[in-house]
């Protein structure tokens, strides 16, 4: 039983409850839509599997990676990050659809602050990524990747951080775009570079200078490195550094997203 000391406490509790109700409502909608858009769900699960099995197996025979790890296992953490990159950025930019079908307008005319809308959306995106990653982790067990309970918890933390950062990025871009044509631009100029420059498919230790610079600024690099550390026990940076950089990106992109939502036009 919670003890209510004064009317003010009760008022504050009600406020918090209403606030969390609103975030829950927005999150609930995203999750329900996620499970009902069957084709999107199937497609976004299938693509990483294709990479894991076709590229993974294809290069396995001809590529030798340090620590004599099988190439398929080597790219497994990268493929997890890939599924997060795709799901999170797409999820965020899907807000263009919400606007096209006026759903967003109906939310913006409700007494809900823009930062609450942003938070609800971001939670939706994180849930979305987590569900897809769970499927991949099961596939990982099948191909013989093993992880301890601690590694599992650590993986979830990294996935959630990366997903928050990239959903925020997607929401930011989506909030500025008015047409669906912008979608293609996001795929070419955001999604693919984020993925390819992250070292998801290759070790980042001995890269040419120009490429090394680009991988260093890519937030996904740190998630891939962290997951490699956690799952395979190999990494280029200390885990703490990876975590710190991801936290930093999350804060910056989260703040940017909230700002973009505040200035987004309702109609």
């Amino acid at each position: 039983m919670l003890k209510v000391d004064s009317w003010r406490d009760m008022y504050n509790m009600t406020r918090i409850r209403v606030y969390s109700d609103k975030i829950y409502a927005l999150w609930l909608r995203e999750v329900k839509v996620f499970f009902r858009e069957k084709s999107r769900l199937v497609a976004s699960t299938f693509t990483p599997l294709l990479w894991l099995f076709v590229i993974g197996s294809g290069f396995s025979s001809s590529t030798s990676i340090a620590h004599s790890i099988d190439y398929q296992k080597f790219i497994f953490p990268g493929i997890i990050c890939m599924s997060v990159v795709f799901s999170a950025v797409f999820f965020g930019s899907y807000i263009i659809w919400d606007r096209k079908f006026d759903f967003l307008k109906s939310v913006m005319v409700a007494p809900v602050s823009r930062s609450t809308i942003f938070t609800g959306k971001a939670f939706g995106g994180m849930t979305n990524s987590l569900i897809q990653v769970s499927i991949l982790l099961v596939v990982g067990l099948i191909i013989g990747v093993q992880f301890s309970p601690l590694a599992l918890v650590q993986t979830v933390v990294i996935v959630l951080l990366l997903s928050f950062a990239l959903t925020s990025l997607g929401l930011t871009l989506g909030s500025y775009m008015t047409s669906l044509e912008g979608f293609q631009m996001i795929i070419s100029f955001v999604v693919f570079p984020l993925f390819f420059l992250s070292g998801a498919l290759f070790p980042i230790d001995k890269l040419p200078q120009w490429l090394s610079v680009l991988t260093t600024v890519d937030p996904v690099t740190y998630a891939v490195d962290a997951l490699r550390n956690i799952i395979l026990g190999i990494g280029s940076h200390p885990l703490g550094l990876d975590l710190l950089v991801l936290l930093l990106y999350s804060c910056v992109l989260g703040a940017l997203g909230t700002y973009s939502f505040r200035r987004m036009k309702a109609v």
Binding site: L26, R29, V107, A110, A266, V267
Partner: protein, 313 residues
């Protein structure tokens, strides 16, 4: 209140008082500025200059209080069509902070009011156009607002769905103590539903009155006669007190008459006519008179109409 876009003045120095509990209609062609007015009152657009209060809350200084006070039905249905009708209402009830203890009851009541209880667990994509609109109304009412905005509530509906919709709106007026502000370009809709009508043209309100008074502006009913003895009879007609105005057109005489039903027998006592026709003025006539434009000419070609059409394909 004024809203200006770069070169276009969408709403031009509009000033308006809407009484509590009335059904107020904004009537005008597409592009007259009706929706812009609604968007400003609903806090979705900031006026370029001026302001307004809704339920005594300032739209710029207290937007959250305004939002809690209003329900709104947009021109294009905005419910999520992957969710069921019930889920849409549930989510909106939470967004409006409807207390959990009464939430369920509010949802059931709203579904009942718009006749969607049977279909509440179907996804909205399986609803007809009319059902979607009704769901929007239910959604607009879920938090018991004081003011309900209906932006073209029957746009793109077939005639029978339109009549059903009117029936529900009229029922709403009876049951809930609401102020309703609706925009429309359908004359008969405004005539049937509204207590007062503001006719909008180019961002301005050019006439504001009850439907009856607006029609009276035209000076009574129209009587069209074909006379046997044209010239001499016109002189006779000019001396009758019930005849306000006389015009000749293609061999017919067109009269403006107070209360045609009562006065036609009187007129026919004095002149011999081969044929008689009479009609009461409609809001379309009023609109034509005020703007010099026929509202129906452009009614079907508007942007939203095309959008709805596109949406169906």
């Amino acid at each position: 209140m004024t809203k200006r876009y770069e070169k276009l003045t969408a709403v031009d120095n509009l000033s308006l008082d809407i009484e509590q509990g009335e059904v107020f209609g904004l009537l005008g062609q597409n592009g007259a500025g009706k929706t812009t007015v609604i968007h400003m009152l609903a806090t979705l657009l900031k006026p370029t200059s001026g302001s307004a209060t809704v339920n005594n809350f300032d739209i710029q200084k207290e937007p959250d209080k305004v939002r809690t006070s209003i329900g709104i039905v947009f021109q294009v249905p905005s419910s999520d069509d992957l969710l069921t009708g019930y889920e849409n209402l549930q989510i909106h009830a939470m967004l409006y902070g409807v207390d959990p203890s009464i939430r369920e009851k509010r949802i059931q009541d709203a579904l009942e009011l718009v006749g969607l209880t049977e279909r509440k667990d179907d996804q909205v994509k399986k609803y007809s156009g009319g059902m979607r609109r009704r769901l929007e109304i239910a959604r607009g009412l879920i938090h018991s607002p004081k003011v309900l905005f209906l932006d073209e509530p029957t746009l793109g509906l077939d005639p029978s769905s339109r009549e059903t919709m009117w029936k529900y709106i009229q029922q709403l007026v009876k049951q809930e103590k609401l102020t309703i502000i609706l925009t429309t370009h359908y004359m008969e809709e405004a005539d049937m539903l509204c207590n007062r009508i503001g006719i909008m043209d180019k961002g301005k309100i050019i006439a504001l009155d009850t439907p009856t008074n607006l029609k009276l502006m035209l000076g009574g009913d129209i009587v069209k006669l074909k006379l046997k003895k044209h010239d001499s009879d016109i002189t006779v007609l000019k001396n009758l007190s019930c005849v306000k105005k006389i015009e000749s057109l293609d061999g017919y005489v067109i009269l403006s008459v107070d209360d045609a039903k009562m006065n036609i027998p009187e007129i026919l006592k004095h002149v011999e006519a081969e044929s008689v026709e009479s009609s009461s003025p409609t809001l379309s006539d009023v609109f034509l008179k005020l703007t010099g434009k026929n509202i129906k000419e452009h009614a079907e070609g508007g942007f939203m109409e095309r959008y709805v059409q596109y949406d169906k394909n």
